[in-house]
Amino acid sequence: MQNIYLESFTTFFRIGLFTLGGGYAMIPLIEEEVVNKKQWVSKDEMLDLIAIAQSCPGVFAINIATFIGYKLNKTRGAIATTIGTALPSFLIILAIAIFFSQFKDNKVVAAIFRGIRPAVVALIAVPTFRLGQRAKLNKFTIWIPVVCALLIWALGVSPIYIIIVAGLAGYIYGKYIQGDKDTSKQGVQDK
């Protein structure tokens, strides 16, 4: 029993250590390790898992790790895989943070970061449009992201309130406005 904690911990530690480029880059690695090699979850379960982890709040990779850990060994298993996923990031960033705080005022480092900063802003701008396409915005819904962005940017509204209101609005729309007339359609989509 001791072994499976350690095994799930080291598996997710490896996954955390070797994925560059954020959570979604982890999917193929997790599938390889957890579905193909260890066979902790089946391929179909993994698909459900990805869908749930994507729609839930929090870090995508942590959501998946917690879920698989819980399936293996209940709460303690979930803690083992969660720490395993987060620990490599934590240690690497810590080392960089300590190192970087000494070199921040170096002229070369400062010049490098002057070049990097505008590029990073573009790296956040591009997924905005990609996410917009995936959210299937049309002429009736395009105003929603625009208004949300303006509220945060111009009026300083906290994004947390935006999230709460948007979730509530979705709930109310689904329950009262779309309601009965759409349940038949929804049922078909679910299958």
Binding site: G58, I93, I98, G115, R117, I124, C148, A166, D182
Partner: protein, 191 residues
């Protein structure tokens, strides 16, 4: 006291951070830069760049780094800053851990109901707005300079922004490679 705020802030971010790493960035930015002033915009942008280039989920990387920098900027030493990064990372992961355990324990069957799906449907366009707001908030003097202050740096920055947007969005160049190009450009043109 700052540790308590750090914990509450990152717990909230973990709880309301929908839409993956980038969606979470807009929350982190709003709380740490706009609300608490723990970091400057430039520092935040640097953290995003480093989080993108190092292994592991971007959410975990940036929380660890923000926790460290926030405590360090408040005038504490490396050891307390280490504690700050541990606090932020733990607080970010905690909601995921609780929520995913709850879901795998009892809510699994509710996840596919039309009502839960309509909540997610309401969230999706709002998350697009969150990302757009993060982009707008990062387009400022600290990241781009201004045409008055330093026209050379401003136009180089705009060029790097456009090149990165085109490179990653259209030519599908790897973001990490793109950051390295921007670093080189910064070193050569903005030294």
């Amino acid at each position: 006291m700052i540790f308590l705020y750090l914990f509450i802030t990152f717990f909230e971010i973990g709880l309301f951070g929908f839409g993956g790493g980038y969606g979470m960035l807009s929350l982190i930015q709003h709380e740490t830069v706009e609300h608490y002033h723990w970091l400057s915009t430039a520092e935040f942008t640097d953290i995003v760049a480093i989080s993108q280039m190092t292994p592991g989920p971007i959410g975990i990387n940036s929380a660890t780094y923000c926790g460290y920098t926030a405590i360090h900027n408040a005038g504490y030493g490396h050891l307390m800053a280490l504690l700050g990064s541990a606090t932020a990372t733990f607080a970010l992961v905690l909601p995921s851990l609780i929520l995913m355990i709850l879901i795998s324990r009892m809510f699994m069957k509710y996840m596919n109901t039309p009502l839960v799906q309509s909540i997610f449907k309401g969230l999706r366009p709002a998350v697009v707005g969150l990302l757009a707001a993060a982009t707008l908030l990062l387009c400022n003097r600290e990241n781009f300079s201004t045409p008055m202050e330093n026209p050379w740096q401003f136009w180089i920055s705009v060029g790097l922004f456009a090149a990165t947007a085109f490179g990653t969005g259209y030519l599908k160049i790897n973001p990490i490679r793109m950051i390295c190009y921007a670093a080189l450009a910064g070193l050569l043109l903005l030294y």
